[in-house]
């Protein structure tokens, strides 16, 4: 069975008399080790879908299972545990806590996972090493560049050893070169076995992934594999 199975997902927002179909019947499946981009114009429902994939929101209708968890049927506490154990989030604006050092930021999910301090420190230090920030562990976010902050955020996303990494516009706040660096890091993580879903409106970012799902008005309008040569272009 695939890591993600979505069947006829719907999400409605009621605004007074009007009903917005943020998702209007979306079905797809994403296997383990996939590296997938979700693209589409503004308001097409990308973030809405990401929120449901990440267990931050539940669908109005339809069914979605992620690593065996039926998202629509879970309690708030179960969803919190699901997010902690199964999902790693990477945000456009990094969302690091400014008072914490890079190391402490990476430790944060493990605090909620009940990991003991010693193990927490070791794992966080290892992850920062892995994203190339072994020398910056005691720095606070304000002492780091945007690209470095996003690396810390990626290390944090990996801290819970998640089955799925979700990134909403991960390069949106970065200049082109730094964005390419971050995509390279994702590529490397995917090679090492991580499943990654990236939301973007940038087609260069989409071409760097293995597969592109295109949305419009809450529906999937195309779903295709990217050709390898284009991926290599985006790398450079």
């Amino acid at each position: 069975m695939a890591l993600i199975e979505a069947d006829n997902l719907t999400k409605l927002y009621r605004m007074g008399d009007e009903t917005v179909h943020a998702l209007a019947g979306v079905s797809f499946s994403i296997p383990q080790r996939d590296y997938c981009a979700i693209v589409g114009p503004s308001g097409s429902g990308k973030s809405t879908l990401m929120n449901i994939l990440g267990g931050l929101d539940t669908p109005s209708d339809g069914r979605i299972t992620i690593a065996g968890n039926d998202i629509g049927a879970m309690s708030d506490d179960d969803l919190a545990i699901f997010r902690n154990q199964t999902i790693g989030f990477v945000f456009q604006s990094f969302n690091l806590l400014p008072r914490l050092t890079a190391l402490e930021n990476v430790e944060l999910p493990m605090i909620y996972g009940g990991v003991l301090p010693k193990e927490r420190h070791e794992r966080a230090a290892g992850l920062l090493q892995r994203v190339g920030l072994g020398e910056r562990m005691a720095h606070r976010p304000t002492q780091l560049s945007g690209g470095q902050q996003q690396r810390v955020a990626i290390a944090r996303a990996l801290a819970g050893q998640p089955a799925l990494i979700l990134a909403d516009e991960p390069t949106g706040a970065l200049d082109t070169n730094t964005g390419v660096e971050i995509l390279g890091l994702f590529d490397q993580l995917n090679h090492e076995g991580a499943t990654i879903v990236v939301v973007t409106h940038d087609h260069d970012v989409a071409r760097a992934t293995k597969r592109t799902i295109e949305m419009r008005d809450g529906r999937i309008v195309s779903d295709h594999l990217n050709d390898r040569s284009a991926r290599h272009d985006a790398h450079v």
Binding site: D76, A80, I81, N84, N95, L108, Y112, G113, G114, G160
Partner: protein
Amino acid sequence: MMRTSDLVASAGRALRANPMRSALTALGVIIGVASVVAMVALGSGAQAQVERSIASLGSNLLIVVPGAMRGGGGVRGQAGAGGGWDSLTMDDAEAITQLENVAVVAPSQRARAQVIANGLNWNPEVNGVTPDFLIARDWEVARGRMFDETEERQARRIVVLGRTVADNLFPNMDPVGQSVRMNGGTYEVIGVLESKGQSGFQDQDDIVLAPLTTVKRRIAGRRGRGDTVSQISVKAESEQVLNRLQEDVENLLRQRHRTREGEDDFTVQNLSSISETMAQTTGVFTALLGGISAVSLLVGGIGIMNIMLVSVTERTREIGLRKALGARQSDILHQFGLEAVTLSVAGGIIGLVIGVAGAWGMTTLFNLPLVVSPLNAGLAIAFSGLVGVVFGAYPAWRAAKLDPIEALRRE
């Protein structure tokens, strides 16, 4: 689920991030707890003082005075309304001696006289007493001796001085063996009483004791002549029989004076019941003071709630992030609740220290005993903790209920 040590570390970090704000927020609780502690300590000190000074009059003691007492309770002395001043007699005292449970009966006659010695003069209360008076009042002679019954009956010209009188008339010498002049007569000082201190506003040591017979014949004037006495002190054998003895004395005197209840020409004061009444009164007073200052604690609590609400608004994004990373509602609730409780308990501890210091200052100023029980101190801390829980609950609940998607979108 978050570990407790991580919870504490996180609350501490959040409070240290804004040290000035945390300090000012705690200040509300500090003032509240300090004023409650100081007021209650002051009230308890007053209460202890009242109890102590009444107890210093003598234990298990009934005091019979002529005249009816209007109204109930209170140490009002001879509030002569019904009968005259001369309703109590030596025979009454003799009769009371025959009652059961009586330890000692000491009739006495009060007078005022100018006392002269060494070219100094003083105006104390002169009390004609029998030797049993000291037993009834639990009083001891500090130097010299008390006169005995023979000397009393013989109306000898001898006196025992209270501490205040001795200090004022014989500032630099031992009064025992010296003589004083009263009403034109010369009296030998044979003893000095130990100090009893103040009872209310009255200095109990401003007194001269002389044999009852002597006072009646030579000092008291017209009023003291004949068989009457101004007071009879009755000491019961024990605390348990005191109330019964009071009734017996009342009934006996009613019989002897042929009066009915309500028309008495005498009053029997029961010092332990007066002491109880006074203790109750000061207790109510203490509770009132404590209650009023508890209002300031309430205001401190509202300050905490206010700042916690501000903090939740400011940290909306942080809360959203924490939830996205796996914090449960209970984790967020505990984190913010603990911040509020930490503020209020820290304020409570500092407030307790300041309150005790303030109480110490005030009791020293008013010459009261300092009463701070560990129970009250514990209660103050516990209560400030409760304030943190109560006023931190709503902001923490608001934080816990935040929708993570909304919260993350917030700037």
